[in-house]
Structures are given as structure tokens and as C-alpha cells.
Subunit: 197 residues, 2 copies
DNA sequence: GTCTATATCGGGATAGAC
DNA sequence: GTCTATCCCGATATAGAC
């Protein structure tokens, strides 16, 4: 196995440079220069640029996911709405602090359009949120936190909104994200139903 | 002025190739080959690859926008909710038919992170939708279609949801978009209020 | 594990003829 | 307005020494 610290530091620097400039505009030479090592040193740890991009993606996917931000055991009938609201806002604020996160995920999204390998992982993340929300809402109903509704659809809506907020924030759009998320949670809690067409 | 038909056909083909493969992976040589012309022919019409990308973006921006899908004069007190629902669904379905649209906009979003020139235009489109929805909702209140609420926030939410649906559909996620959009419109129409924090 | 030096290729862009 | 031929550069990747 290669030296873990060098390996890690390459991933960290790549993450930053890829986010700032994109995959194509970031050459292996630039990464090497930023780390003050030579190009072949990179190729010793990663067999190709694509391998580096792939490993980085694996690391990112490992570090995110529904259960990082929403933990079922923290929820009670009494605090359910408030907790769901604050956990969601906390997630948004956390991602907002890492200015590179949204940018690099946008890059992987672009790759996903051409290579199913990336698309599958991205879809997996989103589906993880939707199934996580579904599970959480089911739990909420079971402990009597709120009346039953179409929880599957509500979970989809929460996933879409939380994903979209991240996107809009990255544009610098100063929308009332707190109010929007709070409203979405309230809608779920009051069991509002959409009219079928 | 250059021959309009050649100019147009370059833009059309570029649109498709850029969407399929991304800007960097699509070379001027590939575009030329696809059109069965030579590279210098392209450079006669567009001074550089970046100029081509920019002109294409201008054309795209010109062809989209709130008022393409939502026209205030079609709305009455009686049909307001139904019309807002169907116009939104129609917009989503239209964009879904052009498989290249979401992909190429994703590319311009990536460019926007590095060059404010693109970011400004993208933000302009989104703000156009938000101000369009605000105007439309204000009109709805003025004709008594529904009670007054925090229309600015509601307009932001509608913008985020409609943008997000397009995104999720492009992943191939089969969510209940019709129900979600209908629910969002209903929430606006019933004047639901988000609790301030 | 890391270096210097180099091979190889493909891309953007242009010169100059027609 | 379009062509053939070419320039030039930067990128990925490797050979081979230490």
C-alpha cells in the first residue's frame, strides 16, 4: 500500500483544484505543482487521471448521505417538526460552508450524463435521501407525531427541495431558504394532500 | 454578414454535440466533421471556440424564460390554480422532450462557477422566473383568486421546485412530479404560511 | 516513492490558395 | 466562404535513474 498521507493529500488538493477549475482545466501538472511534487509521483499513487477522479468521487460519496444529518433516534412525537426543520437547515448550512462541494458535484453530474458509472452513484445518493425521509416520516406517523399522508411523495419533495436549495445558494441567490424549508416541513406535518390530476 | 443558414447549422450541431459530450470533449474538428466542412470554415463564422460557446448560450437564453410558459392574460379568478398547475407541467414536459437541454445547461452552470459572465445570465433566468411568479401571484390576489400570503417566498419556492424537477428528471428518477407540483401550487393557493424561526 | 527527461498525441488556431 | 496544410502548445503518460 502506498504512503497514506501522500495519498490523502493528493485527494485533498485535487478536490480543491477540480472544484475551482473543473476536471479538464485542471492538469496533473497543476496538481503536482500545487503539492510541490513531480507528475510521476502522482502516477505512482493513481494509475491515471480518471482513476484519481474516480477515487475522489468514492471518498465524497462515502462522506455524505442522509444519516449524517438526520438521525431517527433524535426524533420524538413532541419535537418532530422542529427537529426535521433544524436538521435540514443544519445540513444546508454545513454544505454552504464548503464552497467547493456544490461545484465538484456539478462536475460529477456532468460526467454522469456521459458515463453511467457516475450517474448511478449520484442517483444512489438522492435515492438514499428519499428513502431516508420516507423511513423517518413513517416513524413520525408511528409515534403519532403527525397524521398519515402520502409519505412517499412528501419524501420526494423534501429531497428535491433540499437539493435545490444547495444549488440556488451556490449561485449566490439570496432566497428565504429557512422559510421555504420550514414551510415544506409544515406541509408534510399537516398532511396536506396534492390533488391528483 | 455571414451566410445565415451555415451559421445556424453550426449552432444547432454544436448544441447537440456539446450536450452529449461536454464542451471540452467536443473539439472544433468534431463539429466540422459532423457538418462535413473544414475547421477553418467554422473559424470564419466564429472567431474562437469560446465565441461559439458564448453565441450558443445567447441563443439558448433568448429562447427560454418565464413568459414562454406562463402568460398572465390566460389567468382568471376561476381557473387560476388549474392554469398554474397545467402551465408548470407543460413547461416540464416540454423541457423533457429536449433531452439535450438539461445537459447543456449543466455545462453552462459549471462555466458559471469560474466565469461570472455565464453566472450572471443563469441567475438572470432564475430571477426572471421568480419575478414572473411574483407578478403572477400578485395578479391572482388582485383578482381574488386566492388570499394574500408571503408571495415573494412562494414565488421562490415555485422557482426552485420547477428547476429541481427538470434536474431530477434528467437523472432518470421517476418521481411523482405531477403530484409534487400540484401540491406546491395548492399550498400557494391556500395561502399556507411558513413559521418564522 | 520520487525524481528528470521525454515520448506521443490531440486540440485550438492560422496561412494562403481558390 | 471554404478549402489543404501546417504551426504551436499543453496534456497524459512513461522510461529509467536514484
Amino acid at each position: 500500500m502506498s504512503n497514506p498521507s501522500t495519498y490523502e493529500v493528493i485527494l485533498d488538493t485535487s478536490y480543491r483544484l477540480f472544484a475551482e477549475q473543473g476536471f479538464e482545466k485542471t492538469s496533473m501538472a497543476m496538481i503536482a505543482k500545487e503539492l510541490d511534487v513531480s507528475k510521476p509521483a502522482l502516477y505512482y499513487h493513481f494509475s491515471s487521471k480518471e482513476a484519481l477522479i474516480d477515487k475522489l468521487f468514492e471518498e465524497i460519496c462515502r462522506s455524505i448521505g442522509f444519516h449524517v444529518y438526520f438521525q431517527l433516534e433524535n426524533y420524538t412525537a413532541k419535537n418532530f417538526g422542529a427537529r426535521l426543520t433544524s436538521d435540514g437547515l443544519n445540513m444546508i448550512h454545513t454544505q454552504r460552508e464548503d464552497e467547493h462541494y456544490t461545484r465538484i458535484m456539478n462536475q460529477y453530474q456532468a460526467l454522469g450524463y456521459r458515463d453511467p458509472k457516475y450517474a448511478r452513484q449520484l442517483v444512489g445518493i438522492l435515492e438514499g435521501f428519499t428513502s431516508g425521509f420516507t423511513e423517518l416520516l413513517n416513524y413520525g406517523v408511528s409515534i403519532g407525531a403527525f397524521p398519515e399522508g402520502n409519505l412517499g411523495v412528501q419524501a420526494q419533495m423534501l429531497t428535491m427541495i433540499i437539493d435545490s436549495m444547495d444549488n440556488f445558494m451556490s449561485y449566490g441567490l439570496e432566497y428565504d431558504y429557512e422559510v421555504i424549508w420550514t414551510q415544506a416541513v409544515n406541509q408534510v406535518m399537516t398532511g396536506a394532500e396534492g390533488n391528483e390530476l
